[in-house]
């Protein structure tokens, strides 16, 4: 097309005079409080008194930083080849899961629902499940269907295993189609426990189906688990590192290609994932390496107990020391030396950290996210000389608190930190006002509190709805450390420049 045309963004559009005036006129109808009253109340919500009241709150959750179990189960299911996530419950949740994941990864997300309605609520959802299976096989031709429940199906007590047996009997479900299933009510756990439950079920189902007996250590291969991971780049980085070792491995639950496919001109429901036949063989691997713990408890338990796997797990390896530990373990499990190239990479990243250290040193940060992510972030912040101050984990538990506190105690930079598991982002807001910090780290949900507190948000974790492509860059390993460092330090510099008086608007930083 010849002429190029310009479009005004709505942000600017509605700042135009006519709209401003119109809004003011409208206020007359609103019968609002006086501006003084509004300001006074707003100020009050920043006080210590208000904070205490806020923390005394028991019943209601305000701005949660977690999602529910089935969302995690969908992600786990999409880690396997030609697998259709199938959610037993009423239809709304499924629409939410699809859009939640689509907004983060900017990718289409296949997932279907049994669409239970009122009659199903009364008489049970068996018919919906059986008809649904028949339907989705015809429409989507999956090789595996991964079924999870929503809270609704759990409350009426639908028995998935009986339903599935009936589906097979009726011939709606082919004899040889594997159908792992997980009970994932939203009223317990969160997206990370749902991930865990589904992954475990997939491993168990495929393994049992193969009729093998485990021979751990029989193969030189490693099993690698990344858990509930919103970064497709982490998968690529993991492969790169393992490739440098020359290690052979199987990633159990690799959703990266389903959430990062190319625009080839042809849309497909399935773009990749761990091949189904690789799963039973994984029982013979030399060892299992997991880079999340809180989202893999049941799965790792199963692998240890039933497969007799030797398992090494750490929380998301962010920063130098965590990566060191990871590489040492890879070396031990694979029986190979840490490659020279990776050692050089480490030195380069350490160099980069030194280059930037002055700007990050002593910066006080608040962070919110999933437990594994937070453990990683705390560790990295301490290495950078940043001071974690407020740590809010909506889906954390006692064990997480203890681990986080132990880690914080290991460094003088952690001295001021308090860990709040089970709390929400409205608690975080109080913390930010009562004890201000320089930076916030977390998902997009944290942006509102950060904006009010007038501090920049470093977007790390899940979900990130309002920035593009961050998930394509790894945050684990040395390379990930460099990526995060780049993001951190440049944000700090941006803020500095914005605030700099003319005389210190320097060219070189």
């Amino acid at each position: 097309m010849s002429e190029r045309l310009n479009i005004v963004d709505h942000n600017q559009l509605f700042r135009q005079d006519k709209y401003v005036r119109q809004r003011e006129e409208k206020r007359a109808f609103e019968a609002p409080c006086s501006p003084e009253e509004v300001t006074a109340t707003l100020e009050y919500t920043k006080t210590k008194e208000y904070k205490d009241k806020n923390f005394a709150r028991t019943a209601v959750v305000v701005n949660p930083a977690k999602a529910c179990q089935p969302l995690g189960a969908v992600m786990a299911a999409l880690g396997f080849e030609k697998t259709l996530p199938f959610i037993h419950g009423s239809q709304g949740c499924t629409a939410y899961f699809r859009s939640h994941l689509a907004r983060h990864f900017k990718e289409p997300v296949p997932a279907v629902s049994t669409s239970m309605t009122e009659d199903a609520a009364v008489f049970g959802g068996m018919r919906n499940l059986i008809d649904g299976i028949e339907n989705c096989i015809a429409l989507y031709q999956p090789e595996m269907i991964a079924v999870c429940t929503t809270c609704m199906a759990e409350v009426i007590g639908d028995d998935l295993s009986a339903f599935l047996a009936n589906a097979r009997q009726e011939g709606a479900l082919p004899e040889d189609m594997p159908v792992p299933f997980a009970n994932t009510p939203s009223f317990s756990g969160s997206h990370i426990t749902g991930y865990d439950a589904m992954l475990r079920s997939v491993l168990e189902t495929l393994y049992n189906k193969s009729g093998r007996t485990p021979q751990p250590g029989h193969e030189l291969k490693l099993n690698v688990l990344l858990g509930f991971d919103g970064y497709t780049g982490n998968f690529a980085e993991m492969r790169r590192m393992l490739g440098m070792f020359g290690a052979t491995y199987t990633i159990l639950g690799d959703h990266s290609s389903n959430f990062d496919s190319g625009a080839t001109g042809e849309y497909s429901y399935y773009y990749g994932g761990t091949p189904l036949e690789d799963v039973p063989k994984a029982a013979d691997a030399a060892g299992t390496l997991a880079i999340q713990q809180y989202s893999l408890r049941k799965t790792l338990g199963y692998m240890k107990q039933t497969w007799g796997q030797q398992v090494f797990s750490i929380s998301t390896p962010l920063g130098i020391r965590a990566t060191d530990r990871l590489l040492e373990e890879i070396s031990r499990l694979s029986g190979r030396e840490i490659p020279e190239a990776l050692k050089q990479e480490r030195a380069r990243i350490v160099d980069a950290m030194m280059d930037s250290h002055a700007y990050l040193h002593g910066k006080r940060v608040a962070m919110a996210g999933d437990p594994d992510m937070l453990i990683g972030l705390i560790g990295f912040c301490l290495e950078l000389g940043m001071e974690p101050v407020h740590i809010v984990c909506s889906n954390g538990d006692r064990k997480f608190e203890k681990e986080a506190e132990l880690l914080l105690k290991s460094s003088p930079y952690g001295a001021e930190a308090t860990v709040h598991s089970g709390q929400d982002l409205w608690h975080m807001r109080s913390l930010l006002f009562q004890d201000p910090v320089d930076l916030a780290i977390g998902s997009s949900h944290l942006k509102f509190a950060a904006k009010e507190a007038k501090i920049p948000l470093l977007r790390v974790g899940f979900p990130i709805f309002d920035r593009h492509h961050l998930h394509r860059y790894p945050i684990i390993g040395y390379q990930g450390a460099l990526n995060l460092l780049t993001q951190f330090v440049n944000t700090v510099l941006d803020v500095m420049e914005e605030q700099a008086p003319d005389h210190s608007f320097d060219l070189v930083r």
């Binding site: 509605f14 701005n63 009423s90």
Partner: protein, 453 residues
């Protein structure tokens, strides 16, 4: 266009004919389906910006959905807060009424909203809690309206939820307050959600013609102003069939005439303004609308010219819900775009007949099948672009098809005369992007060389 209920300007009371209410289609198990009734109710009521919206249930319903609306507020932001009782196992077993009581009290004491909407969800509907009772008791205790919204996900589709939300407005809110002043030119907009600020465009036009919005139901709405909706001269139901019932009920109870209209496209906009003016019964306002429409249409056609040139003859597949399916067609036709495929899965028989009026059998009707069907139609009808909701965006892009978002989450306002201009710009912009050149050609190594042996 053909007016929805009344015929032309002869009949004052438009609501004599009760719209046929065909039941919303049941979702089919095993397919990718849209949102639930809870979602529909939430989407309808959340734009009431100064109220608190408390979701009573486990984390699922709110945890995956809060802060994703595209409705803008010009003032209060309380409705953007995600409040939930976040029920756990213990609550399911031992009941959660107490928790609900406490949550309501907490919200009222800390946020002092004019009202709290309490949403039932699948779980709290199933466990049979007396949510109405709790709301009633707390309303009395606290002196703040606590409004139960009984629309759990499993009762059906999103549309049904919208309808139920309309009932809630009618039963609990409308008629509960009185405006400080009224004029004879007060109109309510029903089913306008102020997506990307669309309502502000419309409001400006109405002001220019000497009319005003008495209650916004619900885009950029305030609780109190919804309460005095019963004092309006007329109701306009904007692009939301599901809320037609509300207009009917208001006509029966308060004698407020209504009509159904849309603001997509210049013709529809002019029609809607005229219809409003007509219902105010003021010749002067009517004259002003006529002038305004003539002036705006003239201006618009000048401004549109360069875009029309670029869009003429382009072919589009439109996949959107309900009323929009036909109203957007008109807008696209005004831009010279040929609609070669249209989704009808959420349309009523009436919607479909309106689609037919506009495009006849020239286009493919896509009743179901979602993604696959859309793509098939694009290919078979050689369409240049897909215009649909965000849900279908990424799959269209995988197929390298230019895509324009028309639903809830977009950031562009398409309503009114200015809106049509924005739409034209957006379409041209989308089609112009150099990335399509990239996708139209093969990578150099994929090109077949003539001399290959």
């Amino acid at each position: 266009m053909e007016p929805a209920v009344s015929n032309g300007r002869l009949e004052v009371s438009c609501g004599k004919k009760i719209p046929k209410s065909t039941p919303c289609p049941r979702p089919v198990p095993g397919e990718a389906s849209g949102g639930c009734s809870f979602d529909g109710a939430q989407i309808t009521l959340i734009p009431i910006a100064d109220a608190a919206h408390l979701v009573h249930g486990p984390i699922a319903c709110l945890g995956n959905s809060w802060e994703s609306r595209g409705s803008l507020s010009s003032g209060p932001e309380l409705s953007a807060y995600g409040f939930t009782t976040d029920l756990g196992e213990q609550d399911i077993i031992f009941g959660s009424e107490q928790k609900l009581h406490e949550s309501i009290r907490y919200i009222v004491s800390r946020f002092a909203p004019p009202a709290v909407f309490v949403y039932t969800t699948c779980v709290t509907a199933l466990t049979g809690e007396d949510i109405e009772g709790v709301c009633k008791a707390e309303s009395e205790q606290l002196g703040t309206p606590i409004i139960p919204v009984n629309s759990p996900g499993f009762v059906g589709s999103k549309n049904l939820g919208t309808r139920l939300a309309g009932d809630v407005l009618f039963q609990h809110i409308i008629g509960s307050t009185e405006p400080e002043q009224t004029t004879s030119h007060d109109i309510n907009l029903i089913g306008e959600y102020n997506i990307a600020g669309e309502m502000w465009h419309i409001e400006r036009l109405m002001q220019q013609a000497g009319m005003s919005i008495l209650s916004r139901i619900t885009g950029d709405g305030r609780f109190r102003e919804v309460g005095w909706a019963h004092r309006a001269k007329a109701n306009m139901v904007v692009c939301s069939r599901a809320l037609l019932g509300l207009a009917v009920q208001m006509e029966r109870k308060y004698g407020i005439p209504y009509f159904e209209g849309s603001f997509y496209g210049a013709k529809e906009t002019s029609y809607s303004l005229r219809q409003m003016a007509y219902l105010t019964g003021d010749r002067d306002v009517e004259r002003r609308v006529d002038k305004l429409a003539a002036r705006e249409e003239m201006r618009l056609s000048l401004e549109l010219e360069p875009y029309r040139k670029q869009l003429k003859g382009k072919r589009a597949v439109l996949y959107t819900g309900g009323v929009k399916s036909w109203s957007v067609i008109t807008a696209l036709q005004e831009l010279g775009i040929k609609v070669v495929g249209v989704g009808t899965n959420k349309s009523t028989a009436e919607d479909v007949s309106r689609i037919a009026d506009r495009i006849g059998d020239d286009a493919e009707y896509i009743p179901e099948g979602g993604a696959r069907q859309i793509l098939k139609t694009v290919r078979s009808r050689k369409a240049d672009m897909v215009i649909a909701g965000g849900r279908n965006m990424y799959m269209a892009l995988k197929e390298q098809i230019p895509f324009v978002d028309i639903n809830q989450e977009r950031h562009k306002a398409y309503a009114g005369y200015d809106g049509l201009l924005s739409l034209a710009k957006q379409l041209v912009h989308t089609l112009q992007h150099p990335v399509w050149e990239l996708t139209a050609k093969l990578a150099p190594w994929e090109e077949e060389t003539e001399f290959a042996d």
